[in-house]
Amino acid sequence: MEVVVIVAWIGMLFASLMNTPATTTVVLVDNGKQHNAIVVETKAGSVVIDKVNHYVNLSSSTQKPSEIKSITQAQIDEKFKSVIINAPLKPMSVLLYFENNSNNLTDESLNKLPQIYKEIKARVPADVNIIGHTDTKGSDKINNKLSLKRAMKIKEWLTQKNIDLKNLSVHGYGESDLLVKTADDVSESQNRRVEIFIK
């Protein structure tokens, strides 16, 4: 019995010698992007973390951040589970394409609508921003109208779905914001589009 107590006591002593008491832990996690880095600073100095699943501890404002250490995904998931459980989905944007001089969606884009519906539904109360565009074929005036018609077409589709929306805005940018830069009066299927921003 005595041995056990001593071992435990030595263990505690070691723990107190080796770990400076940390009150704040900052972990850099994967955000799906290549460039991802943070600077953690106190009055005593700063440190850059640029590798995901790495962290520093802060023990006081007058001490430097600890050295950078790695942490496993399982440890992160455990430590931050109360945060992860209710994290909102990322905002996203999608493009839908239209037939020439028309507010009819291409077949391929038409097939994407059910998936887009799901994405919006998953984000309720959602904020949806619809922006219509045209190619440079035809006059500015006609294209302004056409771009708005395209955007309205998507709006109508969406309003029929009765999704809980916090905000719904619709704009037509005409040929002023081309996806593929072309000269004037050029038919370009990539430019005949509607952008939907879903938040």
Binding site: H35, I38, T42, K81, V83
Partner: protein, 140 residues
């Protein structure tokens, strides 16, 4: 015409709404302290500058700011939104959060992309900032 419309829109936004974030998810009991009153938060609630968000035990909240920043708070957390400016058309940005205790997840949005230095996430011992993800290279 377009520009005028934007101006009017901007003015309307300025005059009538100081809402900067929306609550997307809530679990358990979450409150906001605004001008010394405590209001419970629910899905769809809007947040404003200088709000202090508090979560109780086994509670959490997920919000999205106007610029697309995603902030989630875990249980027993206190965090205040000390400053928030997102005016890309004027190139004015500020994002200042102050966490007293608890758990948070922060995923930067447009402010982090356009003006990373204006993002400050304060903790009692210091500040977490985000690094610019854009750079220039000259090769001679």
């Amino acid at each position: 015409m377009f520009r005028f419309l934007f101006l009017v829109l901007g003015l309307v936004t300025f005059l009538f709404s100081a809402d900067i974030a929306i609550v997307k998810k809530v679990g358990g009991e979450v409150f906001v302290k605004r001008t010394s009153t405590m209001v419970p938060l629910s899905v769809g609630s809007q947040l404003q500058k200088e709000d202090i968000i508090m979560t109780k035990k086994a509670s959490n909240v997920g919000l999205i700011f106007d610029d697309g920043t995603i902030l989630s708070l875990g249980e027993n957390t206190i965090l205040s939104i000390d400053d928030y400016i997102f005016k890309p058309e004027k190139k004015e940005f500020s994002f200042d959060l102050n966490m007293k205790k608890g758990y948070a997840s922060f995923e930067s949005g447009k402010i982090g992309k356009l003006a990373p230095k204006s993002v400050k996430f304060r903790v009692p011992e210091g500040i977490v900032g985000i690094r610019g993800t854009k750079f220039y290279v000259e090769v001679k």
